[in-house]
Symmetry: C2
Subunit: 417 residues, 2 copies
Amino acid sequence: MITLDQCKAWDAEDELKHLKNEFAIPENTIYLDGNSLGARPTSALTRAQEVVSQEWGEDLINSWNKADWWGLSTRLGDKVAQLIGANPGETVISDSTTLNLFKALSAAVKIQAEIAPERKVIIAEKDVFPTDLYIIEGYIDLVQKGYQLVLIEHPDELETTLKAHQTAVVVLSHINYRSGYFYDMEQVNQTIHQYNALVIWDLCHSAGAVPIDLNKTQSDFAVSCTYKYLNGGPGSPALIWVNAKHQNKFWQPLSGWWGHQRPFDMADHYEPAQGIRRFLCGTQSILSMSLIECGLDVFLKTDMQKIREKSLNLTDLFIQLVEQECAEFGFELITPIDHLQRGSHVSYCHEHGYAIVQALVARGVIGDYREPAVLRFGVTPLYLSHEDIWHAVQHLKQVMLNEEWKNEKYSVRGQVT
Amino acid sequence: MITLDQCKAWDAEDELKHLKNEFAIPENTIYLDGNSLGARPTSALTRAQEVVSQEWGEDLINSWNKADWWGLSTRLGDKVAQLIGANPGETVISDSTTLNLFKALSAAVKIQAEIAPERKVIIAEKDVFPTDLYIIEGYIDLVQKGYQLVLIEHPDELETTLKAHQTAVVVLSHINYRSGYFYDMEQVNQTIHQYNALVIWDLCHSAGAVPIDLNKTQSDFAVSCTYKYLNGGPGSPALIWVNAKHQNKFWQPLSGWWGHQRPFDMADHYEPAQGIRRFLCGTQSILSMSLIECGLDVFLKTDMQKIREKSLNLTDLFIQLVEQECAEFGFELITPIDHLQRGSHVSYCHEHGYAIVQALVARGVIGDYREPAVLRFGVTPLYLSHEDIWHAVQHLKQVMLNEEWKNEKYSVRGQVT
C-alpha cells in the first residue's frame, strides 16, 4: 500500500522540488495538462512587460538589433538544442509545428527524389496527432506526382510496411499524444535507414519530457511545438531541427525573406541561407517567441536525465495509485507499463471519460480528454510532486465513488482543447 | 512659405489629434517608421499582462474557450475586415504574410489550372518587397509544372505583360514598400480580369494607411502583415482575405488542423472547413495575436477616410517642406506627387542616404533606409502631427547643413530593418 506519508517522504528527497517555484500554478489546482499547455514560468510576466514596454514601446525598430529580435530564432534554437541532442546551428524556432513539418517533408521528399525517384510512399501512423496527416495530404495534393500516404495502425507494423513499399519518408510521433507510447528512436531510425527511407520525428510530446539525442540516434529531421512540456506560452512558435548533412541539400519551398542568405539586400531572387536559417520563412511573432526563453532557462538549471527519472517515478506512482484506489471503476490503462515505451503522460479509456474529466476539473484537477473515450493525465516533473499525484488520484476516486460525473452539466460537450 | 505657426494652426484643427494619446511614443522622438513597425498602443501593456498572467497563468487550457483563444483568428479577422472593405467571414489572422501568400497563390493557381491549364505565368513586380518573389519561386520550384514568374519593372508594363502571356495570377503590392507608389485597385483588377487572370494584393503598406474596398473592387485574394500601420506589435500574425466566391473552391496545401471542418474530432483525414477558416493552418501564437486587437480598436474609433485625408495632408506637407527647406541638398523624391498614386510614406533617393538616416536617428527622428540609397519616412496619421513633420524636416536640414552625416560612425552598416 502506498500512503500519503510515503508520497511526502519521496517529495522530501526530490532533487527537483525547488523548480516548482519557477512556475506560477494557480491555487487549489493540480495541473496535469502540461502536455497540452505548459504552465507559466514566473519570469514570463516580467519578460512580457519588458518586450512590450521597453523593446516595442521605447526602442521600436531599433530592437531588431538592440534586443536581437532578428537573432531570436537561431539563439533560442541553440538553447532548445541542448534538450534534444542537437549541435548549435541545427535548430531554429519558427512558425508552427504543422508548417515546419511541411518544410521538413518537402526537403526529405526532394532529397529522395534526386537519389531514387521510385520512392513514392510516405509512411505515418493512423493514431498520430492528425495535423501531421493533414499536412502530408496537403503536400501530396499540391505536388501531384503519385506520392502516397500509407498509414500504420501500430508501431509493430512499421518494418513490414517499409518492406512492402518503396518508401521516401516516415513521419512518426516520438511519443503518442493519446496513448503515451514512446518509440525507441535509435532502433527505429536504424530500421528506417535500412530501407533507405528518411525519418521526420514529431517531438511535440517528448521535447522537454524525455532525453532525446537526435544526432546520436542519426535522425534526419525533427519538429516540435514549444508550448507543451517546454512551457513556451500558448501557441508559441515551433522548432525545426535538420541533420547538418541534409541542411544545404534542398531549398525548402516556404522560402521567405528570413531564410535568404542576405535578407537585407532586398535581392529579387531567392538565395537560401547556408545552414539551418534556410528553414526560416517570414517575420516571426516576436512577443510569443521571446517568452519561450523563460521556459527553456528553467530546463537549463537541471538536466533531462533527472527530469526523466522523476517523470517515471510519478507516472509509475499514478498507475499504481489508480490500481490501488480505483480498481473497481473500470479504467483501462492504455499507456505502456514498460518504461522504455512510456512517455510522460498516463492515459485511460473509460466510457464516461468526458464527464469524468469535467468532474475532475471542477475539483481543480486539470487533465484532459481526447476522442475516443481517453482520459489523459500529463506529468510534468518540473512542477508536480508525489503528493500532487496522490491527491489527484484521491479526487478521481471521489468523482467515481460519489458518481459526480453523472451530473448533467459534465456531459455537455464544449470545445475540447 | 509654410511656417511652424501654420503647422500648429493645422494641428489645432486636426480632428484626429486626440488619437495620439492612444499610443506610447518615446519622449523626444518623432517616429516616422510606423510603416516598418507601428508604435505601441498604450492598451497593449495591460493586455499583455492579462494574457500572460490571467489567461495563461491562471486559466491555463481553459482559456481556449473562456478567453476564446480558439476564435481569435476569425474574430480579429472580422475586425480588420472593416478597414479593408471585407465582409465578416472573409478574413482570418494567421501565420505570416509570406505564408499567407503561399496559401493564396496555391489556391489561385489551382483554380486557374482547373479552368485553363495553359495559364502558366505568374506576374509580379521586380521592385516588390522580395519575400513575395521568393515565395513564388519556392512554389514554382515545388510544384514543377512549368509555371513561370515574369517580373514587370514598372506598373505601366502590366497590361502589355498580361497581353503577352497566358497569365494565371498577378501578385501586386498595393503600395510599394520603397517608393510609396499606390495602385488604383479597381482599375487594375479590371485589367487583370479582362485577361482572365486572378489577383493577389499584398496590403502590407496599405492596410491601415489608405481606404481599401476589396469587395467593391472585385479583388480575388489579399494578404497583409498587421505590425506596420495596424500597430499589432513586432512580427504579429498576418491577415489573409479571400473573396467569398473562391473560398470553398480549393484545399490550400498548408492544411493543418486549425483549418479542419471539425478539428476536435481528431479525424485521420483532412476535411477543409467551409469558408475562410480553411486558410488557417497550425496553432497560432496567442500572445502576439491577442495584442493585434489593441491596434485595431484604435482604428475603429475613427474611419479610414479621415485617416487618409490627414495622411495626404502630412505627406504633402513633408514634400513641400523638404522643397522649401532642403532644396539645395540633392534629395530626389521618388514618391508620386499625384494623390491617387501616393501611399502614406515619402521616399527620397540620396547617395548618402544610409548615413543621413543614421544621423537623423541620433536626433530622435526615426525614419529608415532601404537599398539602394532610399530614405523612407512613414507617415502614420494616428500619432503624428503637422508640427512633428515640421520638426522632422528641420532636423533633416540641420543634418545636411552641419554635414552631420559625414560622422564616420554613421556610415558603418549594421543590420537594417
